[in-house]
């Protein structure tokens, strides 16, 4: 149990995908303009990431590894994730229209995001079993949502700040993200896997 907890905290905070590994930056800057959208996006990414990494885990361990086709990992995962996102979109559209209106376009955006493919690959590298890959995916998703929500709250406050003209918009956001990453660096070394 302790091992899973450690893994969760490590993937969510100390090895946060956005702020210490700089993955998924396009969504991170694109959707962090307001808090509501970032909450929706965080939830969408977490669920897609969890499902897709479980599926990828199964595909890797039951198809690719027994057949000795490990180099095909990347292309298989891309196909898997893209199909899963499409499928998920259809199901949500049909059965949970309210959720669909909230997630809307974000869901499709996720299909092409690097953070979603980074998690299954990390799982392979760590030789995770089913449970650890679940925990890692969930932790990474929560970490992404946390980073997104933190950033969105900061950027909402930023609208009242007197930012120099040359830095307005994305410029100051990058500086802010750098500072946020710096503060997350304080966690490094706390947990070693």
């Amino acid at each position: 149990m302790e091992e899973y907890l450690k893994l969760f905290v490590a993937s969510a905070i100390t090895n946060n995908f956005v702020l210490t590994q700089f993955l998924g930056l396009c969504i991170f800057f694109g959707v962090s303009k307001n808090l509501n959208a970032s909450i929706g996006m965080g939830m969408a990414v977490t669920s897609v990431m969890t499902l897709s990494s479980l599926l990828a885990w199964a595909a890797y361990n039951f198809i690719l590894e027994p057949l000795g086709l490990q180099p095909l990992m990347l292309i298989t995962f891309v196909v898997l994730i893209a199909s899963l996102v499409q499928l998920l979109e259809m199901i949500i559209k049909k059965h949970a229209p309210a959720l669909y209106n909230m997630w809307g376009i974000y869901l499709v955006l996720i299909a092409t995001n690097c953070i979603v493919i980074a998690v299954p690959i990390t799982n392979v590298e760590l030789h995770s079993n089913f449970l650890t890959s679940l925990v890692l995916a969930l932790g990474s998703g929560v970490g992404f949502a946390l980073a997104l929500i933190l950033m969105a709250s900061l950027r909402e406050k930023l609208q009242y700040a007197d930012v120099p003209k040359s830095l307005q918009g994305l410029g100051i956001s990058f500086i802010l993200a750098g500072m946020l990453a710096l503060s997350f660096f304080g966690f490094s070394g706390m947990i070693t896997l």
Binding site: L69, L72, I75, T76, V79, L87, M90, K93, K94
Partner: protein, 290 residues
């Protein structure tokens, strides 16, 4: 089995599996979209101007079909005809729509309005406005760099050689796009049936306004005192005409006769105010020049 064949088999079967899965679920999870939405969207003019307050024609079509509280006459480019059709399709009561047209409240052509400096920057009113409010001495007038002309989704505006935009009454749909992009807020929407209009936006005191532009409204309030129906009011040294009162009551526009600068003029469309003599050719010439 050799590896290339294995790769072929695995990837093909993966592709086929997911292809069929998606095709199947597309059928299984398909939702019926109200077909009326597409019919209504076809009726709309598709300028995607957003005058209705929705993000494009599709969004408005969806809202007007699904939400009973959304009025069918919000599409101002479509005018009455579209409002009637939409109302008919959605079974809502159509409130009549008064046709409007955009008008530039400025007559400060090159020869009439003075300039305080020569502007050589980007050909854009917003850019020019950042530099001490633009090159014109009058800080309220049209800058004449054509930001509105570029923004018009219906090609209804052209820039006249005199340096003021001309609005084509045939093409203008009163969508309000030019009104919102103008950094001077010098464009407004007016009912087509209006009789007179004040071709000035200057809120300066008389002497200052007159110094900057020979056709400025100097706020003398002569027109206000002339009008027997109290349709004209003075707000911030500027005469404001209530077009509704004009339209309903007035038959003889006495306000026009006394104006010392001819800032208040009969309402005519399609020409630059103050160039009525060349009126018949103005529109044609400008369109050739373009």
């Amino acid at each position: 089995m050799s590896t290339p064949i294995l790769i072929l088999i695995v990837l093909t079967s993966l592709g086929v599996f997911f292809g069929f899965l998606l095709a199947y679920s597309n059928k299984k999870f398909s939702i019926e979209v109200n077909p009326l939405i597409h019919i209504v969207e076809d009726v709309l003019p598709k300028g995607q101007c957003g005058a209705c307050g929705y993000a494009g024609c599709m969004a408005y079509a969806e809202a007007v079909v699904l939400n009973p509280d959304v009025a069918p006459n919000l599409c101002s480019p479509g005018k009455d005809a579209v409002a009637k059709l939409v109302a008919e399709l959605t079974g809502k009561a159509a409130a009549p729509m008064e046709p409007q047209i955009a008008q530039v409240q400025c007559a400060g052509t090159h020869d009439k309005a003075k300039r305080s400096y020569a502007y050589t920057g980007v050909e854009d009113c917003v850019a020019a406005n950042l530099l001490f409010g633009g090159p014109k001495s009058c800080k309220y007038g049209c800058l004449g760099l054509g930001t509105c002309v570029k923004s018009c989704p219906f090609d209804a505006m052209i820039m006249s050689p005199e340096g003021l935009p001309i609005i084509d009454p045939e093409k203008c749909t009163s969508c309000g796009k030019c009104v919102s992009v103008c950094p001077k807020q010098v464009i407004s929407l007016m009912p087509v049936g209006a009789r007179v209009r004040v071709n000035c936006n200057s809120k300066d005191k008389g002497a200052v306004a007159k110094k900057a532009c020979s056709v400025a409204c100097i706020g003398c309030s002569l027109c206000m005192r002339q009008c027997p129906y109290e349709a004209i009011k003075m707000v911030n040294n500027l005469a404001i005409v209530d077009a509704k009162i004009c339209e309903e009551k007035c038959s003889d526009a006495v306000c026009l006769s006394k104006c010392p600068t001819k800032a208040i003029r009969p309402f005519v469309t399609g020409i630059v105010p103050g160039t009525e003599n060349e009126a018949s050719t103005a529109l044609a010439c400008a369109s050739c020049a373009k």
